[in-house]
Symmetry: C2
Amino acid sequence: MLEDKKQERTTLEKLGEFGLIEHLTQNFTLQQASSLMGIGDDAAVLDFTDNKTAVTTDLLIEGVHFDLSYMPLKHLGYKAVVVNLSDVYAMNATPTQITVSMAVSNRFPLEALEELYAGIALAAKAYNVDLIGGDTTSSKTGLLISITALGEAKEEALTYRNGAKPNDLLVVSGDLGGAYMGLQVLEREKEVFKVNPANQPDLEPYSYIVERQLKPEARKDIKELLGQLEVLPTSMIDISDGLSSEILHLCRKSSVGCNLFEDKIPLDPTVISSCEEFNIDSTMVALSGGEDYELLFTIDQKDFSKIKGNPNLTVIGHMTDANEGAHLVTRANSKIELTAQGWNSFTSEQP
Amino acid sequence: MLEDKKQERTTLEKLGEFGLIEHLTQNFTLQQASSLMGIGDDAAVLDFTDNKTAVTTDLLIEGVHFDLSYMPLKHLGYKAVVVNLSDVYAMNATPTQITVSMAVSNRFPLEALEELYAGIALAAKAYNVDLIGGDTTSSKTGLLISITALGEAKEEALTYRNGAKPNDLLVVSGDLGGAYMGLQVLEREKEVFKVNPANQPDLEPYSYIVERQLKPEARKDIKELLGQLEVLPTSMIDISDGLSSEILHLCRKSSVGCNLFEDKIPLDPTVISSCEEFNIDSTMVALSGGEDYELLFTIDQKDFSKIKGNPNLTVIGHMTDANEGAHLVTRANSKIELTAQGWNSFTSEQP
């Protein structure tokens, strides 16, 4: 899309740093009661009254975390916000504000950044968070986005990683592996495009998994759902690096073990069919794929009846004593130790 | 310093992302009453009780904001924290927490990042702020640091940019232009080093201005001082981009004009002598140099007697009606319109 020669282009030099921030953020208005002052002073000012404040931050780098050859900038802006909000939801908190910092090389015209901010604005609206600050600067190469998200919660509602107990049930929202398989499809089409630029890919059969990769959503509905069901998770984490890695985080922080049942892992039919097509094991994809942004949490066994049969939630295992370790119980009923195959930006190529 | 071949080197791949964060942050402990949960969960959790929360963020990029050929990594870590805290102090708030995100290319061994974090730890201790989160990832080129700082204040203590009134006095802490002249000295020595690497520069005569550039401090004393003097500024901003640019921010946000008196601008003798040596106008340096991290604020005229003669504070002008504009009144008593010559990363080379 950056290659569209018909677009009007405005260079960033013309606007300068303050002009650029003002231009990009002019349509953002404050909606949250806790936002007293947003962009335009040395710092934003917030008022969380008697709520606790959750703070999380993520850095996304071109060529490491995203590839603009198939990631439209509007989607990128949306996704960059969503991945941060997902961390706030994983605390069982409600996101309220974000700051967005950006470094951009001169190859990006203003219109490209407007697209990026259009995606940020869409996410801010969809999740009802205020853009309250940020920093915009030039970079030597490529695009970089650093977002900090703030949220609020009553102290008693907060869910940490360290509260799981042996015999607690392990529950996941939605389904897993879609974002990773969507990436496989996009990477394949990119290779096809390199060989034959005239080829028009038919992504229709893959629309679910491609959307999981390009426009993931954070599970803002789960906090509300659990509230309605009167279930307070004993621990919670979001799935950004793959189920296996997240389970190991819960186990380590809570000093427990875990049995995860392979046949319980929720998979969308598109994930199963694309795994067959790509000849990849679907369980491996769910365990190590990452970027699904579903919520993984533990509940007391007494709460099982409250969540049973809920289409948004799947019980996939249970916690054990720490000395039993963390294992996948396969369909063939053998036990395989879970290892963190989560993505590591220092050893991996583009995910 | 990265060229010291005797140093042990540990590659980042060995540690991975989680291992790296844990290793670098293991010696940071939470000190602030408002820090309920720091690093190690999906988000940090804070409790600001009945105080308001200030949030600010800055992005520092190698080759744009800093040059590692003369900026030691420990100093860089320190400065990266300080520039953010300065924004919190400019709200008349007390910094309480920081998040630090970092992207690093493989050319940095672990020991380099340890140096960087040693500087961050020094600043966190000096300013009593907790490191509560962050993200660490690889970059394609160079080093990038994104810091978000949080602070707290009673609502009635907060100072915004928009409260200045005509006839208010314009006051600045400390002295100006040092950081810019320090940079000139360092740039000159870098050129000399390129020609003759055996040359040992004598930086002793320039130690004040070099330190202003390499290890600036935020004015944490001013909030306390003003409290003791019982002066509440009507507006406040920190000087990161040069006096001229900051005055124009106050004027625009407060809808006032300003007369700045050239002969009142506080300059250290080292700044004056180095300006002579480099044949640069010292007023231009103070107006446009930037990176001094002093505080610029306005006070009601009735408070003049309270600050008069204080060695930390200098009255440099007064605010006027907006239609009078913002001017420098020169020593020759002519009026020159102030223009924003603050640094713009999109048009400037390395500052």
